[in-house]
């Protein structure tokens, strides 16, 4: 499974959920050939992509001869079960529940609200002008990260990373939100614990190499988007 040709990852440079899969693959020592599905151009709804994934959703991780794996949290759990080392979940049940809960706070409670389909609906049917859309993005990023910050700061299980001293699914999801927030040039209120954990993530190759701005199809990073 360490051979490139075993996996193909359909994704988009800026997509938070594609980022998660990219990080998890590298944490597990796996590689995948990445195929761009340009969400700006609506390629996720093209006939050629719908033949791969009839749901028209990225990321889709394709293993030769298998139906595509979809939904980032399901893919992360799959990779963790397929390649157990290094583990992305702790061994104790309460620890596992805590990591999955933090992951959900980010991947379920924040990310679905700031997706292209959301922007499309709100700026057309919803009548949002650009400033209302931006206020919406800032609101949900801020609310979500504040809740995670409160939790990480108060829980004794928080270590160098969200849970102890090694990266878990929670860090993968946290970084996936923080990095796209930066891609949108959005800043929230101070989140010192998250910032500290993100500094630690940025010492790990798997996170560094998954940076949206390093991906094929990404624009050149401007100073204002740092």
């Amino acid at each position: 499974m360490s051979n490139d040709s075993d996996f193909k990852l359909y994704g988009f440079w800026r997509t938070s959920s594609t980022y998660r899969v990219r990080v998890a693959l590298r944490l597990k020592g796996l590689t995948a050939a990445e195929q761009i599905v340009d969400l700006e151009k609506g390629e996720q709804l093209s006939n050629s992509f719908l033949a791969i994934n009839p749901l028209g959703a990225v990321p889709a991780l394709v293993l030769k001869g298998q139906a595509p794996l979809t939904q980032s949290l399901a893919i992360l759990e799959f990779l963790d079960e397929k390649v157990p080392e290094p583990p992305l979940l702790p061994t104790d049940l309460l620890g596992r529940a805590r990591v999955r809960s933090i992951a959900s706070m980010l991947a379920c409670d924040v990310h679905p609200l700031v997706t292209p389909r959301m922007r499309k609906y709100l700026t057309s049917t919803g009548g949002f002008d650009p400033s209302l859309w931006r206020a919406w993005q800032i609101h949900w990023f801020t609310e979500g990260l504040s809740a995670v910050e409160t939790r990480l700061t108060s829980d004794p299980e928080t270590g160098r990373f969200c849970h102890g001293d090694d990266p878990t699914l929670a860090d993968v999801c946290l970084a996936s939100i923080v990095e796209i927030m930066h891609a949108f040039d959005i800043k929230t209120e101070a989140t010192p614990t998250i910032d500290r954990i993100m500094d630690n993530c940025r010492t790990v190759d798997a996170f560094v190499l998954a940076d949206p701005f390093r991906q094929s199809g990404a624009p050149v990073k401007s100073d204002s988007a740092e």
Copy 2:
């Protein structure tokens, strides 16, 4: 752990995520004392509830002497690991990924868009009038269930339930969306495969007894809400 006093479930009659936990507890033969947190009255932000869960979110499943478990998907995985029988995930890795993916399509891609916090933002800051809010609800329920219907109809793994012939996490999440959609009196386009699976769910006590309208605090069900 089968003793009532070992668990306390903080939830609200109509909340999709509370429903999921309610069903899973019963599928596992567990019971929990349920404590109403009235989201209509904002009780999730009351000092007394914030002392239980500083994040102000339901459901929260409390085990004596432990920090509350939060986020329904994390709680479902916890219950499945704590009490392995009957299993809520298949044993094969691809099957587990499929079940988790369907669960995410519902719990992450639909539910977060139709929550009270969403209504609050859209009808205040977002300027949505009641008809725009209702169109929003119908749109996301319809889009989400159509995608799940397409998948269930085309996948050979679909059986009496979403994956094979026994309920899994996918059915728990599917029913949680269908039942609150009914509570909101919303109908989507035809979804014959989902309807057939829901008919099978409604033969299982754990699903029947979790019906939002059977919960403490629920209004009397009117004919129009059937």
